[in-house]
């Protein structure tokens, strides 16, 4: 394995899920120790034995998985280990001032005194970014920083990175979003199965080229958008859904065979809609009708019984049992059906899990590997597999391709199409506009807890979506 980063450049690092990108970065930042090999930094050999050493060298990393203390405030998180002191005491006022100044400099809107646990995933990501930039870093490593961000936030992030890059600094940028690479990187290094493949100049290459290096075979250059199929009758109907916290009069219909996309800026309330529907959050008003009959859903178990499944956007906290093995994770939602007189049908269970591992091409030595030992993308596939085996009629996918590589993404898209074609109804929440545009038969756009508009596939464009997404409290639309 090899990797060279030059001063003043953004090096993109790409590879399939489980190719070893995160592992390489963890070696670089001193979290793992290499079995052999060496690092040279600014011309001299360095031995990175711990996170602290890496920090001192000027290597700053944003991990793929969050590393935030939920109970501390934003400012406390960013400056942990570097607190301004007033004698023996921490100067919290100065701490918050420092943070505010930092936010102003890099152009993010965060409240330094808010607890991180109260932030959405996207805003937590901004905290991570701010934290990494708060070091006087020479080398900034970003491991899928945009997985939880939507397009405008990605733009902000890219602006931040560009401002960060000088002749003295460099960045390594890992992402599965190919369009971003074009926008931000100078060169692209491709790795596969833990081995170096090639490095390409961004200017002189094409994305299909990069992708074929990644997967080691030629892939179809352009995927054809399939026409919107004929949709069935209304299956799920939501009216006047409100929550105490955010949602106001959300209403929509979901038809048999339909993929309804949900777009919006971060914090628009898309996740909240999903949680409210499956009963994970309490609703303050509103009705839900399923196949023509009013239903009362008080918790996700009821929802699952009714055939509504929700795949959460936060796989680490809400999706996976990290310590448990893959098959346990995949089969979790279906255990209730796989028992005879209460006894588990383990043969059956393992067989089904194995099928899913194959179907989604989850990269693992064994289905009995602990979920935490998989790469981020493969973890995401486990969560998807969990809902595939459950066979729900209504599936709500919240950021289903978060952290999934291009190849796998296509597979997931095919899967969603397939599911829809077989008569399932799908809600797909996504912060990637191209994805929303490509997959949805219809798009609901949200802003500040309301649905501000619906767009049919043929009329939807990025501009129209952004226009609706930035509308504030006026013009909420109902069905």
């Amino acid at each position: 394995m090899q990797l060279t980063v030059r001063h003043g450049e953004v090096l993109a690092l790409v590879g399939e899920n489980g190719a070893g990108k995160s592992t390489l970065m963890k070696l670089l930042s001193g979290i793992y120790a290499p079995d052999s090999g060496s690092f040279r930094f600014d011309g001299s050999n360095v031995d990175i034995t711990g996170p602290k050493i890496a920090q001192e060298l000027g290597i700053s990393i944003i991990h793929q998985e969050f590393n935030l203390m939920q109970d501390l405030t934003v400012a406390q998180n960013i400056y942990i280990g570097r607190e301004p002191m007033l004698g023996p005491f921490i100067n919290d006022a100065a701490l918050n001032r420092q943070a505010s100044a930092l936010f102003e400099k890099i152009g993010v809107n965060l409240d330094p005194a808010q607890k991180v646990g109260e932030l959405t995933v996207a805003r937590q990501q901004m905290v991570e970014i701010a934290k990494a930039l708060s070091f006087d870093a020479k080398l900034l490593i970003l491991d899928e920083p945009t997985a939880a961000l939507n397009d405008s936030e990605v733009a902000t992030l890219h602006a931040i990175i560009r401002r960060f890059i000088t002749d003295e600094t460099a960045a390594i940028y890992i992402s599965h979003r190919m369009d971003e690479l074009k926008a931000i990187s100078d060169r692209i290094t491709v790795i596969r199965d833990g081995e170096y493949v090639d490095t390409l100049d961004t200017e002189q290459t094409t994305m299909p080229e990069v992708i074929s290096r990644m997967v080691g075979r030629k892939v179809a250059a352009q995927i054809q958008m399939k026409p919107v199929p004929k949709l069935g009758e209304v299956r799920l109907s939501v009216r006047d859904l409100s929550t105490k916290a955010l949602l106001k009069d959300v209403g929509f219909d979901l038809r048999r065979g339909e993929i309804l996309g949900f777009a919006g800026l971060m914090g628009a309330g898309r996740t909240e809609v999903a949680r409210a529907i499956v009963g994970a959050d309490r609703i303050s008003a509103g009705t839900i009708t399923l196949d023509g009959a009013g239903v009362k859903i008080s918790n996700p178990a009821t929802a699952a019984e009714l055939g509504i499944g929700y795949l959460s956007e936060d796989r680490k906290h809400l999706g996976l049992m990290l310590e448990a093995d893959i098959s346990q994770n995949i089969m979790l939602s279906t255990l209730g059906k796989l028992n005879k007189f209460g006894f588990m049908q383990d043969k059956m269970l393992n067989y089904i899990a194995g099928e899913q591992i194959q179907r989604l091409r989850i990269k693992t030595p064994s289905m009995h590997q602990a979920a935490k030992n998989l790469s981020g993308g493969n973890q995401q596939k486990i969560v998807i597999a969990k809902w595939l085996v459950k066979d729900c009629d209504v599936l709500i996918f919240d950021e289903p391709t978060r952290g999934i590589d291009v190849g796998a993404k296509e597979e997931i898209y095919d899967l969603l199409d397939e599911l829809a074609a077989s008569g399932k109804s799908i809600i797909m929440i996504s912060s990637e506009l191209p994805e929303v545009l490509r997959m949805s038969h219809r798009i609901a756009v949200m802003s500040e807890g309301r649905i501000t508009g619906f767009l049919e596939r043929h009329e939807a464009t990025q501009e129209k979506i952004m226009d609706l997404a930035t509308r504030s409290n006026r013009g909420a639309v109902s069905v």
Binding site: N299, M321, E323, Q358
Partner: protein, 347 residues
């Protein structure tokens, strides 16, 4: 007993896709999970050998049978506690709860004069009801299990005294009752029934934990309660049943101790909970939840009783006994840690 979730049939492994050394890594995983229990067992064997060398009388069949008998009560409590601990909770009510259930047996058999079987049932049922209340408090009122079961510990203590009128209830009118624990049903064997009851209970607990739905949910709730809930499992209801199940083991312990003492002692039981939890944790069950096994708990309970009995038989002065027990527990758990050696920080 073969009761860990990590064990499962080999045959039907689905074909594995893009993996390198499939068969061998599978084997390593399997071996490691076996090792875990072997190591705990090894600690136990080492202890037995050491005590045997110091005082050969330790190894007489009689003494070994007595050690088994002395494992029973804490062991039964630990079985129930294992379930609760794997969900990530803790159960402090098992000690005094046991006293309360033994009083209930006394009320049924002695005060009401009902038949023996009814008394046994009443004890187990009383334990289950107590567990149910714990479960309701924990899952529906969302009270932390530490507090819910601490409160239950106090309430059970008080109720045991109130119901019994602060005096022991004797079972002289139910002649067969003391045979329940102390009878020797298997001719020629010196091991009393209580030991068999314990091992049967352990096997049942093991099967429930590793082979049934409630067992699976016990692990998954402990691994990630939120994810389990979002997977469409009614976590609250299952948790309630898990605590109820745990409570019935407490109830069984109450029956056995009542039978062994031929009386229900309302004032006892405080302090047993820590011993039971210690047995569970020594057996490798994590207080973080998600991990653990019944086999481990049985070994943990045996380690505790071997230790106690061994130190006594080699005449270690009482004040040094607790020092020694403390140190051996540390050692046993440390060895266990070393084996798992997941020594990377931030892991």
């Amino acid at each position: 007993m073969s009761n860990t979730t990590t064990e499962r049939p080999t045959k039907d492994l689905a074909p594995k896709p893009d993996s390198g050394g499939t068969a061998s890594s599978e084997f390593v995983l399997r071996l490691r999970s076996r090792m875990q229990q072997l190591m705990a067992l090894a600690s136990l064997v080492v202890l037995v050998i050491i005590f045997g060398l110091i005082n050969p009388l330790f190894l007489t069949p009689n003494n070994l049978s007595d050690i088994l008998l002395s494992t029973v009560v804490i062991g039964l409590l630990a079985l129930g506690a294992t379930f609760v601990i794997i969900t990530g909770g803790i159960d402090l009510s098992v000690g005094t709860g046991m006293s309360l259930t033994s009083v209930m047996v006394g009320v049924t058999l002695t005060y009401l004069g009902l038949p023996l079987a009814v008394g046994v049932l009443a004890g187990v049922l009383a334990g289950a009801v107590m567990g149910l209340v714990n479960g309701l408090l924990v899952s529906y009122l969302r009270i932390p299990s530490f507090i819910a079961t601490l409160a239950m510990m106090m309430v059970a203590q008080g109720l045991a005294l109130v119901i019994s009128g602060t005096k022991p209830i004797y079972f002289n009118e139910t002649p067969g009752f003391s045979n329940l624990a102390l009878g020797k049903s298997i001719p020629g064997l010196i091991i009393p029934n209580a030991v068999f009851i314990f091992f049967i209970a352990a096997v049942i607990a093991g099967v429930i934990l590793s082979k049934t739905l409630i067992g699976r949910y016990t692990y998954s709730i402990g691994s990630n309660e939120q994810a389990t809930a979002l997977s469409g499992i009614n976590v609250r209801r299952w948790k309630m049943w898990i605590y109820t199940l745990a409570g019935s083991f407490t109830g069984l312990a109450g029956v056995i101790i009542a039978s062994r003492l031929n009386s229900a002692q309302p004032g006892q039981g405080a302090g047993y909970e820590l011993q039971a939890i210690a047995a569970v944790v020594i057996g490798g069950t994590s207080l973080q939840g998600g991990k653990g096994s019944i086999a481990g708990t049985v070994i943990g309970a045996l380690i505790m009783s071997v230790l106690t009995s061994g130190l006594r038989i080699i005449n270690v002065p009482q004040e040094w006994q607790s020092v020694a027990i403390g140190c051996v527990i540390l050692l046993a758990v440390y060895v266990d840690m070393l084996r798992r050696k997941d020594t990377s920080e931030g892991k």
